[in-house]
Symmetry: D2
Subunit: 185 residues, 4 copies
């Protein structure tokens, strides 16, 4: 079972978050993560069509997903929306921004709407908000995994708890996708 992670990253922070999501997916027996960076050019639509789940990731710039991730969404219209290729796949999202709140919710809402338009099934976090910087979900969101990066380079930030939160989302998506797949028989 493959879970695709389609993401954009400006300076490496969201890429690091995507890597953490992938690690979470790979923790689940029988699940394998496939990372797709939209900046790498041609999208492998066949991988997406074959996946049991697709997780979307983007920095939040100007209170919204990046233009590059939006470009990917637009390219999906003809390829996947019209033929409903992604219908009933599991979907989820993650985002990173410089500020704690940073209007990150708007990015996740936009991903969830996009997924709904494709007839996908949306999975968020099942975590209480963390009370310290060391705890899971310290940013305090639920629609997807949020991270906060200051101006330090991607080697330093997002911090460990944000990456662990991203991994938790990856694992959760893989578990739910596996259950949903098993129920098909």
């Amino acid at each position: 079972m493959q879970i695709a992670i389609v993401y954009d990253s400006g300076y490496g922070h969201t890429a690091k978050q995507a890597q953490a999501v992938a690690e979470g997916v790979n923790r689940v027996a029988g699940a394998s993560a496939k990372l797709i960076a939209v900046a790498d050019g041609d999208i492998d639509w066949d991988t997406l069509a074959a996946a049991d789940g697709i997780i979307f990731g983007s920095p939040t710039y100007n209170g919204l997903i990046s233009a590059k991730l939006k470009g990917f969404m637009e390219a999906s219209t003809r390829t996947a929306w019209v033929p409903q290729t992604w219908r009933n796949k599991i979907a989820a999202g993650f985002t990173n921004s410089g500020a704690m709140h940073g209007d990150k919710l708007n990015s996740l809402i936009s991903m969830a709407l996009f997924a709904a338009q494709h007839g996908m099934i949306w999975v968020g976090l099942d975590l209480f908000p963390g009370k310290t910087n060391e705890e899971l979900n310290r940013v305090g969101g639920w629609l997807g995994a949020m991270a906060q990066s200051d101006e330090a380079p991607a080697e330093v930030t997002p911090i460990a708890s944000d990456l662990a939160t991203a991994a938790h989302l990856g694992q959760r998506v893989a578990e739910i996708a596996a259950q949903f797949r098993a129920g098909k028989a």
Copy 2:
């Protein structure tokens, strides 16, 4: 398998939509809909805890779900959110308003956020937008089922296609909940 439909209705239009959702649920073999009107007073939390899915419904007033449905949400905090009673249940939503657009999306987003906070899994529509008033999804939404009612009484409006869209959502939720349940074993 039971799917609960928790809804508020001011003048009967959303109640009619809720009834259509229930009919859609009941089309699925082994699925049974349980309607819960928040205005009826004491919520049957046990029914909600036992359900495989919960569908939320509200009129959109002032660009948002009704105060009564919000009151239900607040009551759920202690009862269901803290013990994560609804974690991994299937969730969905529907709404009705007087205007075609009517900021209905904000009601559905608020329901989807609420469901995500409870660790639920969100299912929307898998329908293309209808091109005439007779077609499914003529309002053109995806995060949930939308209906539009003019000032006519609930006997006349929402129109048949909006009710059929609501029924489609109910059926879809029941099918997905059944598949997800089957995969648990």
Copy 3:
């Protein structure tokens, strides 16, 4: 010139934030803040009709404004929306929640949509995100003033910078309302 602050508060934290907004309003020469708690019962619609600006405040519970503030919104339909009493008044919003992010954005969006439906003019923050807990806008929002309160009582939280951010919003709304009023002549 009067700026009304209509707010709900569950445990006193948002009331403290409302008080800070009022202090910000009162810093502006000729401006006077009028606090209206929706929980106090009968709304003074005449004060609202006479105000040059209305600032809405609510805790974010379940990712959304409180049922009580929503009840106020519904009551405004007949009183202010139909006769467009609030058209072209300045509007703004503030919210508080336990988690840093806490889906607070959804509360502010819902307030901004409500204001737009009334034909009001929306003013947010003009602050960069704070980088420490001592700086203004440390939560990092723009559509309105955000605060975060942990489980400590309202004597202790929200912290000083969140209250200063709320005061900044109050002052900003009063200044813009004064300029807009002066331009009417």
Copy 4:
């Protein structure tokens, strides 16, 4: 007094809506509209810096503004956000999509958040929802001007009432910008 209209258009429908907004601006004595299509390449940042108001326009694709308008937003970060060049300018938005609802609200919310991040002041519609296809605001939104275009070419659609709604927004923005400017003295 100049009002800039920055827009993207895929097939000419949103361009036609932008033209209607411009006509509305030009109805106001002393106001002049300046249309800027982001697809034309280099943005005239000086015109934007000098304008009293900026109105943003985009098709809603995939439930969100176009990648091209988002690219413009990202380019504004260094040019206008960091130096707060647009602080206290009047802002507004319009959008067009194929479906009646079409999740257009999400595009307008994203524009309003973007404007708030720039410290701008947001103006929506002051119109009741139209009850027929001939009336203003027949789509029924308030945060900005909405239009619906079917697959017909831009010569035929959006229909007259949607264009009149766009013109109403342009006029309203120009009037409010004029009043706000007059109050500065």
